[in-house]
Symmetry: C2
Subunit: 264 residues, 2 copies
């Protein structure tokens, strides 16, 4: 079976001692740089590739520090502190020896405990009843996903910024923490749900909490997952986004937050 484009995009060549070489992907290209989700997933993949890693991803914060140019980059991972069941990591992606992304991650070995699902998935129109979405934009990465919007229209002044969207990799690929990371950045910028005018935006910081371990995630298969996202405030050049990714049987797979810059 040929390599899935997602795996090719986040693939890393080990250079030794927590160092890896990667390369931007044309297929996951955005307007002027790579799709942020694929870059964050590549940073996470750097940790996943380290032999000293324990457990599964619990949290990831990726700060996008500068534009990323088409071409090679270096990923530098560092296990900052290892405890009994958690491990703290720092990751940097560099181009020309300058950081373009900085990330912190926590990995954890999870154990069975008392649990409670408080949040419930939104009542969204089923996947098969929603139309496939084609981005009205000359960008490539949306074509790497099947997206079907059950709520919210892109590029018009919706009464609110809440969207419900079914998302799966295209072609289909079994969900894992890396692909889930990318999906957490695949919700369209909230500002384009409140303003019809398209203007430059850029994610500044992306935060993800993973609520299931690799074993539970493997049960999801190839999706699609149901994603909800909304903004709270657009103020003085920055807006936030909060989102949830729901799996089968109403399991919350991840919650995600980001703050993004926008040009007026």
């Amino acid at each position: 079976m040929p390599e899935h484009p997602f795996d090719a995009a986040v693939s890393l060549e080990p250079l030794g001692e927590g160092l890896f070489r990667g390369h931007t992907s044309e297929r996951y290209w955005n307007f002027v740089g790579p799709f942020g989700g694929i870059t964050a997933a590549t940073a996470l993949n750097g940790i996943l590739r380290c032999p000293e890693r324990i457990g599964d991803p619990l949290s990831l914060t990726a700060n996008f520090m500068a534009p990323i140019q088409a071409g090679p980059f270096t990923v530098r991972t560092r296990p900052v502190r290892t405890n009994r069941s958690t491990q703290h990591w720092s990751v940097e992606i560099l181009q020309e020896d300058r950081p373009v992304l900085g990330a912190l991650a926590v990995f954890a070995e999870r154990r069975d405990t008392w649990g409670l699902r408080e949040a419930t998935p939104p009542e969204a129109r089923p996947y098969l009843e929603c139309k496939p979405f084609k981005a009205p934009l000359e960008i490539k990465w949306p074509g790497m996903y099947e997206m079907r919007y059950a709520r919210g229209r892109f590029g018009v002044e919706n009464p609110d910024s809440l969207t419900h969207c079914w998302i799966a990799d295209a072609p289909r690929r079994a969900l894992d923490h890396a692909s889930l990371t990318a999906i957490c950045d695949a919700f369209f910028p909230r500002i384009f749900l409140r303003r019809s005018r398209l203007a430059p935006i850029a994610t500044v910081s992306l935060n993800i909490y993973f609520h299931v371990d690799a074993g539970a995630l493997a049960k999801e298969g190839t999706g699609p997952v149901l994603c909800a996202a909304k903004a709270q405030v657009f103020n003085k050049g920055y807006y936030d986004q909060e989102g949830q990714v729901w799996g089968a049987d109403g399991v919350l797979l991840a919650s995600t937050h980001q703050i993004a810059w926008y040009k007026d």
Copy 2:
């Protein structure tokens, strides 16, 4: 006027080149370590004290990597990348040369733009109609805040984990980004709103997005602010919390998220 206890707790002695010495505060002590909010505020204060800092805090992610012992610590700040209007920082707090906290922050010079407030504050009982809350615990830091709960009871099995709480520094102190950071960690652990049994918990990662700049924050005076917080899921030893801090006139000052470990 004597120094406010908060300022004493987050105070730092410069050691040169982005290095500072701090000391844990007895007044903001939790069960077995300092109140996490004061530690995160101290990390932010390290950046605020750096002369090369531009703009105001936009985002802060603080990862709590290991228990902090009573005594001195070192704060190491590093401006990782400075752009035209944003600046990316990394902060570490160390004890005995080992990191106990790692943080990433973004600072930004904000400018007037089109804006929209989508989220609205909860309809909460007014501050004066709520009873002052006394924590039923032998811990000190809650005494450094005036807290009045308008929704949710601590230590009982509430039907959900959503709380509305008025919070102000005690004694009162004009709000700034450092004190707002601490307040973002001052909501009681969500698990104690769903289980009556008190068991060990620890915040692993705290994330804050600041939605106003220093000028707007200064208008808030000494509060109180209205804080909403809830959990989405408790699963396999970890639960999340999302919160909002509302100022006067329904302005969203900050949104915050954290993931915490719990012992069964």
